[in-house]
């Protein structure tokens, strides 16, 4: 039931007691504001780290060659381990692997030019399956294929940013010839990569072509394995298997940490996920703490407010106020203040997140801070209810004591 006169009385009381209203309101608004900002930042951190990972498939393992650091079978440490096509052939049909590719960075000269435009970009010689390891997305033309490898074709696919810096005004790059380290290559495709921009400042060429054109013999730099849905245990098993085979072939100690370098994104991702779970848990604990301190704050203020109003309650009762009317006056006032203040805190918090989200330059590991609006609303509701309960108990007590006692209160 909406009683205009009662609300007028409430608004009258609120407007005549600005300090009290402000204090109650501030503690509620602050609690909600902090919660929103906190949870939002937590999500921002999570989104940011997830975005860093988006670039690559989250299920690959790479093996790079290194230099031995341990003596093995009569050989001194310091021996250079170098991979070749044979290593790839040996490891190609290893179990449990979905895609395998080699990757070799062309290091002689990484100048790429088209007509008058040129720039230095990373040049990687790969096998067709490499696109699955980087989760490349072909936006124009085609990906590298087996035929390119077999026929030693001088073809290249460009990262979006490479394309944009070489081809102006949206010119179609497919079938155009560009110079890669001075050698003409035909552009067959352009790719995008949802990850970081670094991955888009690259071009990929077939490994067979690169070995022939750049005089690399059958050298390859690293071997990459892609394991769809692989568990951490499976990935570790694979690494053990690969290490065993390579150590036998290249005669190095399988325990040597420097002979080959292994990067396991599966394990790495799992670690990050665990870290997230930890961060999320931590944020929730802080969030819960913020809410609890908000509840305690509101409760305290409500109790003080009722205490402060004891004499007023006594006067109202002497003038004919029923206990019910006293309780509802105090409760409706407290609910009104906490709800409005909670809403203000919510709006300010969400506003700040939006502002940060839209004006923040791209920072690694932080993106799109956001908050589940339901959580924020529930938290606000919780504070309002807590304030109401905290006000109800003393209000009920004050309303039921004999007016003479309330009147004596100073």
């Amino acid at each position: 039931m909406f009683d205009i006169d009662k609300w007028q009385e409430i608004f009258n009381t609120i407007s005549k007691n600005k300090m009290r209203t402000l204090l109650t309101g501030f503690s509620v608004a602050w609690g909600i504001f902090m919660l929103v900002v906190l949870l939002g930042s937590g999500y921002g951190l999570e989104n940011g780290v997830k975005k860093e990972f988006e670039g690559d498939a989250l299920n690959y393992i790479s093996v790079n060659s290194g230099v031995t650091s341990k003596a093995y079978k009569g050989m001194k440490p310091g021996r250079l381990i170098s991979f070749s096509n044979d290593d790839y052939d040996m490891l190609n049909d290893i179990e449990n692997v979905d895609h395998t590719s080699t990757r070799t960075r062309i290091v002689q000269n990484n100048l790429i030019s088209y007509k008058a435009e040129y720039g230095n970009f990373d040049i990687f010689a790969v096998l067709p399956d490499y696109r699955y390891i980087e989760s490349l997305e072909i936006t124009n033309g085609r990906a590298l294929n087996q035929k390119d490898i077999e026929d030693y074709r001088k073809v290249v696919i460009l990262g979006r940013l490479v394309y944009e810096s070489l081809f102006k005004d949206g010119e179609n790059a497919v079938d155009k010839y560009i110079k890669v380290s001075g050698v003409p290559f035909k552009v067959v495709g352009v790719f995008n990569d949802p990850g970081s921009d670094r991955d888009l400042l690259r071009v990929y060429i077939p490994i067979s072509t690169a070995q022939r054109v750049f005089n690399m013999g059958d050298f390859i730099r690293s071997i990459h394995f892609n394991m769809d849905g692989g568990s951490v245990e499976e990935s570790k098993e694979l690494i053990e298997n690969v290490t065993a085979q390579l150590s036998t072939k290249h005669k190095f100690d399988p325990e040597d940490p420097r002979a080959i370098f292994v990067f396991n994104s599966i394990e790495n991702y799992k670690q990050f996920m665990d870290l997230f779970a930890g961060i999320r848990f931590f944020i929730w604990i802080i969030g819960a703490g913020t809410i609890i301190s908000g509840i305690v704050g509101v409760s305290n203020i409500m109790m003080i407010v009722v205490k402060e109003r004891t004499k007023e309650i006594g006067i109202r009762k002497a003038l004919g106020a029923t206990p019910m009317s006293i309780i509802s006056l105090i409760l409706q006032e407290s609910i009104l203040i906490t709800a409005v203040a909670g809403y203000i805190g919510l709006v300010l918090g969400v506003g700040l997140l939006e502002l940060v989200s839209s004006s923040l330059p791209a920072i690694d590991y932080f993106a799109n801070p956001e908050i589940d609006i339901n959580i924020a609303l529930i938290a606000t509701g919780l504070l309002v209810v807590a304030g109401a309960i905290a006000g109800y108990v003393p209000a009920q007590r004050a309303a039921s004591v004999k007016p003479v006692i309330a009147l004596k209160d100073e």
Partner: protein, 237 residues
């Protein structure tokens, strides 16, 4: 109008108890102007609070306007207070954050009178008290006499049958006290029953009947005709 039969009241504070009223029998007729006197601790304020249903009593019978007030719950008590009784206190008991007009209008809020109507009525009563110019002032901007006249206006606005005044002149100087007593007499002329608790003989002497309490019992009742003799006897002693 008011009928009390062997009213008893004891206050308990911790392990000690204080028997304040020890069987009060009292009848007050409609339209009477009565004062209750007694030294502090004699129970005169307690008696007034019981009549005003601001406090409860332990035993006895209390009839107001022919209805029993025994075992009243707070809701009923609020109803009777609002309908029958107007209070005037020594410390005024005005709501500090409400202006004069709003203070006077408050009893009507609890009678569900519309805001417009009750503010209009409040202005009327303020005018009668000569406070119309002060309608929008807060209580702490008023003098003691003004505050008490404000409180009297508030007590009158609900057209009560009884006005209960607890030391209404206790916080006022003698000139203002005389003014306030004049006001009470005017109200009395309207036919409203008035009960004044006071320890000032000059104030009591203005009433029709003086009830003197001593240690929780009625010591003497001074009727209208005997007041002069009583006053003379008091000043002799």
């Amino acid at each position: 109008m008011i009928s009390l039969k062997s009213i008893n009241k004891t206050y308990y504070t911790g392990s000690t108890s204080l028997h304040v009223l020890k069987g009060i029998d009292l009848n007050i007729r409609q339209g009477e102007l009565v004062s209750i006197m007694g030294s502090s601790g004699s129970g005169k304020s307690t008696l007034l609070n019981i009549i005003g249903m601001l406090d409860n009593y332990d035993s006895g019978e209390f009839m107001l306007n022919g209805q029993t007030m025994n075992n009243l719950n707070e809701k009923k008590a609020a109803y009777y207070r609002n309908k029958f009784i107007g209070f005037v206190f020594q410390s005024f008991n005005l709501i500090s954050f409400k202006n004069a007009m709003e203070n006077v209008a408050l009893p009507l809020y609890y009678q569900k009178v519309s805001r417009k109507k009750r503010n209009l009525l409040a202005m009327e009563y303020l005018d009668k008290m000569g406070l119309a110019d002060w309608a929008h002032h807060l209580p702490n901007e008023l003098s003691g006499g003004q505050k008490q006249r404000l409180a009297i206006a508030r007590a009158l606005i609900s057209k009560p049958k009884i006005i209960l005044a607890d030391e209404p002149t206790g916080a006022l100087d003698s000139t203002t006290s005389i003014e306030v007593m004049k006001l009470f007499k005017e109200i009395h002329e309207l036919g409203i029953t008035i009960l004044i608790v006071t320890h000032e003989r000059e104030i009591a002497a203005e009433t029709e009947r003086i009830i003197k309490l001593k240690d929780g019992v009625i010591d003497t009742i001074v009727e209208n005709g005997q007041r002069k003799e009583w006053l003379a006897a008091q000043s002799m002693a």
